[in-house]
């Protein structure tokens, strides 16, 4: 599809020499003198466009040439308009002779020229002038003229609104509202002239006017909408389409609750008029334009909902019906937000729609706006929304986790409404196992949304289960792949690859494991006993792209989880989480970089938790000691091990928790001492590398800290440290491969040994009290001495 030829064309266009370019310009100037543009001219214009657009740096055209293009903008031939617009879009607007936004002939702008003006607007004034011209033209246009001459008015207007809603004055808004009402509700119900008959004017022998039809072929019995068809269309029917296409945006821009603030003085009168009219729509002519538009929008949407129930003949029309349903429900949501009395009129219709659609999964994307409607207005109408949430949270993620558009829209719905959902749908926090399926299937696309959503899923009640689930996201990913393959592939094995995991998935004895992973709600258990079995079964999934992509997102989510949980958890829960971390450090799906990353995250947060709540260490000393006392952990989980040892050394003291006894300190000491002896007396087991100096140093420091708190242990440390010095003096050792590392270790050992010779000082140096490590220079008069000294020095120096 993309060839070398295209690539070299772009290169040529970028690298064209200035002299060649000037020659090209003069050639073009000559070509453009004639009225008609031949094929050669068109090709040359395209090449000019390519030259201008291929580079991000702007080229300027000679003034004469540029003026010629501006003149071409208003040529009757569309090709001239398109080509000149394309060229002018890539250059700078003429200086001095800018396209004046206030000129009268702007009113006769064709669509392409209008687009150019729009793209070159630099101020709100420009946009206002453009709007004024367009609307003036709309009001006073002659009855004859090409059919599509004004079609672009509404799209241009809508585009302006997106950037600058204040561009329209009150009067202009009223004018547009009135026009919209006309087009939406009172468009012709007769078919227009068929396009095949050619020409806008019908001859005397034209057919009898035929009424418009519905999408299923039956004759239409009500007003014209986008879901009506005919052989041809009249202009107001076209405007009906354009009006509906911009209706939601118009309502959102001008009808949101904050924009009705300026109508305060009329609100009392309006209120009574509206409530009277809500009951009967026939007297809507009494309403002011804004309210009238709201009423007509309401009717239009109701009609669309009814029309969408018909069986369309064409597939594209069926798709359009769905899109119309989405739009209709959104517009109804909008008008109900504006006028609460409409909620009672609307809800029966929405409820019926939900009932009609909820059984078919193909309607999932239509059900989301319905859910939004229930969320916004359900409480007011006292409607039971249980079923809606069961479908949205319970069914969609289970069955449609692989639909990228549904995932995007559902997560967006959650993001935008998270506060409301937390309030009104308390069971939301139980559905995280199901919602995470979106992430497990398509991590790169979904991780961004989950970074925003995860904090709302963290509660003290489900925190432990959530942690386990996050750690097993790669397993979920693998299981979803298996589930997907299982439904796609026949039972017989495909040629070639052996699908051990697929067999396991289909094996009844392992059903329970996979069912747990695929559960929809939390609460049935934090994790399963046979987790290691599950990991073994999924071992071949470690190199599946989907699984590795998923694994890469887990560390980020864990960080968010921990950052959130520290703000709401009590010490008991944090203790439980530490235990989970220790336990799971050896119970993870075996993906190479994954395990290491998770250990890094655990280390970081273990440190943080213990810093925040030092008494956690004494509380969980039993499990921490068990972990630290196992030599195997030095080799297999070095980073985490180092941090566990560090927190033990730092926080296992009476000053952190009064329950810390001498015997506890001694047993910790002995456990660490044993490990240190072991790793410094022999080579590492086969298959592992030498422990990093950091581990050994941390162990030595921890022992020294513990000894400084219980002075009976000091001789034991000193003994070890002197032995260390002796051993290393004799040359290289089996447990340390690098000479520099060995020097670092020995140096540290010597420092500690010297420190411990003065036991009183040792404790303050090794574990300084808090007021030393968190200095308050300017607040604490005792330590403001340096400041005083500095002040004195500067005073004396200046003299």
């Amino acid at each position: 599809m993309y060839s070398h030829a295209s690539e070299s064309l772009i290169k040529q266009a970028r690298e064209i020499q200035e002299s060649e370019l000037q020659k090209f310009y003069s050639r073009l100037m000559k070509m453009l003198q004639g009225k008609e543009l031949g094929h050669d001219t068109v090709d040359s214009l395209q090449r000019l466009h390519l030259i201008l657009s291929a580079t991000k740096y702007t080229r300027t055209l000679p003034l004469e040439l540029q003026k010629r293009f501006v003149a071409l903008l208003s040529s009757p031939a569309e090709q001239h308009q398109v080509l000149s617009t394309a060229v002018l879009r890539e250059t700078l607007p003429l200086t001095g002779q800018e396209l004046n936004y206030n000129q009268d002939n702007l009113g006769q702008l064709n669509s392409h020229a209008a687009g150019l003006l729009l793209s070159q607007a630099v101020s709100k004034g420009d946009l206002s002038s453009l709007c004024t011209q367009l609307l003036r033209n709309l009001e006073s246009r002659p009855s004859e003229g090409p059919t599509h001459s004004l079609m672009h008015t509404l799209p241009v207007l809508n585009n302006v609104l997106t950037h600058s809603p204040e561009c329209l004055s009150e009067d202009q808004m009223t004018l547009v509202s009135k026009k919209l009402v006309d087009w939406l509700r009172y468009a012709s119900v007769m078919q227009g002239v068929g396009t095949s008959s050619g020409g806008f004017f019908t001859g005397p022998r034209s057919r009898q006017p035929v009424p418009i039809a519905e999408l299923d072929g039956s004759v239409s019995g009500d007003f014209f909408t986008v879901l009506c068809v005919g052989q041809g269309f009249t202009e107001d029917q076209w405007m009906n389409v354009y009006s509906f296409s911009m209706l939601r945006h118009w309502l959102l821009t001008y009808h949101s609750s904050c924009s009705t603030v300026d109508a305060d003085d009329r609100s009392e009168v309006d209120g009574s008029v509206v409530s009277m009219v809500s009951a009967t729509s026939s007297s809507s002519r009494l309403l002011p334009p804004k309210e009238r538009l709201r009423e007509k929008a309401f009717q239009y949407c109701q009609r669309l909902i009814e029309q969408s129930d018909r069986k369309a003949h064409k597939k594209t029309d069926t798709e359009l019906q769905k899109a119309c349903l989405v739009e209709a429900v959104c517009i109804l949501d909008c008008v109900c937000a504006e006028d609460a009395s409409l909620v009672y009129r609307t809800f029966p219709c929405i409820k019926a729609l939900f009932g009609r659609l909820s059984s078919e999964l193909s309607n999932a994307r239509v059900l989301l706006p319905i859910a939004q409607f229930y969320l916004n207005h359900g409480e007011m109408a006292a409607v039971d929304c249980e079923n809606v949430w069961k479908v949205v949270f319970g069914r969609f993620p289970t069955e449609l986790f692989n639909d990228p558009f549904l995932a995007h829209e559902l997560l967006r719905f959650l993001r935008l409404n998270v506060e409301s959902i937390e309030l009104r749908v308390p069971q939301y926090t139980l559905y995280f196992p199901n919602l995470l399926k979106f992430l497990a299937w398509d991590s790169p696309a979904m991780v961004d949304d989950f970074v925003d959503l995860l904090p709302s899923m963290v509660t003290t009640g489900t925190a432990v289960e959530l942690l386990h689930t996050l750690l097993d996201l790669p397993c979920l990913s693998a299981t979803l792949v298996l589930q997907h393959r299982s439904t796609c592939l026949p039972i017989s094995e495909p040629v070639g690859r052996s699908f051990v995991s697929l067999d396991a998935f289909r094996n009844p004895s392992f059903r329970g494991l996979f069912l747990f992973v695929l559960r929809t709600e939390a609460g049935s258990g934090d994790t399963i006993d046979r987790l290691s079995t599950l990991h073994e079964l999924l071992v071949e999934a470690a190199d599946w792209p989907r699984v590795t992509q998923c694994a890469r997102t887990v560390p980020v989510l864990l960080h968010i989880f921990f950052n959130t949980i520290v703000t709401i958890a009590d010490e008991k829960l944090l203790a439980h989480l530490i235990l989970v971390m220790l336990e799971r450090s050896s119970l993870l799906l075996n993906i190479p970089a994954y395990i290491k990353e998770i250990h890094r995250v655990f280390s970081c947060h273990l440190l943080r938790l213990c810093k925040l709540h030092p008494s956690l260490v004494v509380n969980q000393s039993h499990e921490l000691l068990e972990f630290a006392g196992s030599t195997a952990n030095v080799y297999s989980k070095e980073e985490l091990y180092t941090h566990v040892v560090w927190v033990l050394g730092e926080y296992l003291s009476v000053s952190c928790d009064s329950r810390c006894s001498v015997s506890l300190i001694t047993s910790c000491f002995e456990a660490l001492e044993a490990v240190l002896f072991e790793i410094t007396s022999s080579a590492p087991p086969t298959g592992t590398v030498c422990p990093a100096p950091k581990v050994i140093n941390t162990l030595m420091s921890a022992l020294a800290k513990l000894a400084s708190r219980s002075h009976d242990l000091i001789p034991r440390v000193s003994l070890f440290l002197s032995k260390l010095r002796t051993v290393t003096r004799s040359g290289s050792v089996a447990w340390c491969s690098d000479e520099e590392d060995l020097v670092a270790i020995v140096t540290r050992g010597e420092e500690l040994w010297s420190l411990l010779k003065a036991p009183g000082v040792a404790q303050s140096v090794l574990t300084p009290p808090p007021h030393v490590i968190a200095p308050q220079w300017h607040r604490d008069t005792n330590v403001a001495l340096p400041l005083q000294l500095r002040a004195l020095t500067s005073l004396t120096h200046s003299q």
């Binding site: 599809m1 295209s6 798709e319 961004d448």
Partner: protein, 200 residues
Amino acid sequence: MVRCFLIHTVCPVSALSAGESRVLYSRVFGPDDGVLSERHRDFSPEERRLLQKERVTAVARQVRSAISLSREASGRLIVETLPGEENLALQDADCGVVRLRAGDPFSEETSALWLGVQSLGFTLVCEPHENLLLAEGTLRNLTRHCLEHLHMLGQGSEVLLKSNRIDVLLSRLLPHGQLLFLNHRFAQSLEKEVAAYMAK
């Protein structure tokens, strides 16, 4: 409203580094993003144009990344189809949507819908409250027309040399970035106009 429509490469391009994408066609609808806000008041027109080009390239890059990750995950092989098999190419195309956060690259959050047809990506950047069902349908329709009218399944470079055809296509099916609710009759009428233009 649709912010912009792009056609860009999703295959490796020799002149570019690994993650980069060559933009073959881009059309931004409406005034420059941020031109009406205070911070962009000081930029000259050249700088604004440069910024816009950079924004478009940033979108193309993100979509390229999304497409290659998606293809890697699904493990599907990309099959080259021949000219004449546009419908097949479209059926086989993978699709998805990327969330572009506020500021990256447009000042507000946007959603970039994409269709990956072999080595090219067709992207529609929509505003947050847009009807994505309608946008998806419009994107497919636009892509089909581009593939057919510009013979994109072949080795030609018409997408570069006949971009005025895409301009006309957009002016009918996506005027000024407005998504339209077109039933098959309305769509037929517009497509006839487009075909008439292409025939010249």
